[in-house]
Amino acid sequence: MRAAALSPGLADPVADAQGCFRAVLDAMSRPGSVRRVPADVRPPAPLVPAAAAVLLTLADAATPVWTDAGPDAAAWLAFHAGCPLATSPEDAAFVLACGSPPSLGVLVQGTDEEPHRSATLIAQVAALEAGSGGWRLRGPGIEAEHRLRVSGLPSDFTARWGANRAAFPRGVDLVLCAGREVAALPRTTAIEEG
């Protein structure tokens, strides 16, 4: 096994994962808010700390992970999270996209009876900025409107998100990661371009 794949994971696995879980929970229940991941982790490139910490928190032996991050990063994730690596995004419970994310429609959608059996897309983006400018977000967890500026997603992403939202209760949820910051959009959140 390559040395990079075996660099340490979360410094304090229990406390870091708990703090990170809280950050994702807050981000998901207040869509568009940006939280800082309180974990000390130095993942192999091209993973950013937030994406790495989120996966080490959420993924385990029961959740296949697909990523475009390359063999070193994938092996590191598998080693520390204990997750199987899926060979294609269609088979994954978590999809970690460092580059352009795969089409949302091909990811596991869940069923009308069990919508929670859907994939979660974790997308690494260049920057996240809450409060003013960028997307206008509406939906459960948002009193009136949240603003979130996301840099580094493909230009047609909001159209793709609209199609994902139309399949409710099925569909995927989205976690956005930049550096140590995380924001999240459950499938119920509507995006309007600013």
Binding site: A3, L6, P8, G9, F79
Partner: protein
């Protein structure tokens, strides 16, 4: 500390490594620590993962030899350490002894070093293996003493 050549993944290497990992898994943490006092000091190591306690689902086979089924879980402690720049040692040991898992991982890494291996085999692994074999043999001798000898009964009649 200078590191020697690290063993590879030939069939022989795997057989040797499987053996010492099995011996370390069966030994108690106190037994391993006691043997290490007789050995040269181990090189410093860095923790790459763990030691952490978790579960492994133990499986059986239906009818003993058919399709697998989940019997129940067993507590396991695992640890991965790096020794120098080359050797990585792993340990998966039943139970919840974190210190033992870490010692076993360090020993697994050190035993992969051809320079360190003979001394550690002599001082640690072989004495532990001998003690384990003697315990197993003793149990087998007790079991043999409870084996029913029907032919002897026939002679008595």
């Amino acid at each position: 500390m200078d590191m020697g050549e690290i063993i590879g993944t030939t069939a022989e290497d795997v057989v040797a490594r499987r053996r010492w990992m099995g011996v370390l898994a069966r030994a108690s943490g106190a037994e391993i620590a006691a043997r290490l006092r007789e050995a040269a000091p181990l090189p410093p190591h860095t923790r790459l993962r763990g030691p952490e306690i978790g579960l492994v689902m133990a499986r059986g086979r239906q009818g003993g030899d058919g399709a697998p089924f989940n019997l129940g879980e067993i507590t396991v402690t695992r640890c991965t350490v790096g020794l120098g720049s080359a050797a990585v040692g792993h340990a998966y040991v039943a139970g919840r002894d974190a210190r033992k898992a870490e010692l076993a991982a360090v020993l697994d890494a050190a035993l992969q070093d051809r320079a360190l291996r003979p001394g550690l085999l002599d001082a640690v692994i072989e004495p532990l293996a001998t003690a384990q074999a003697e315990r197993a043999a003793r149990t087998a001798r007790k079991a043999a003493a409870t084996r029913v000898d029907f032919s002897t009964l026939a002679v008595m009649r």
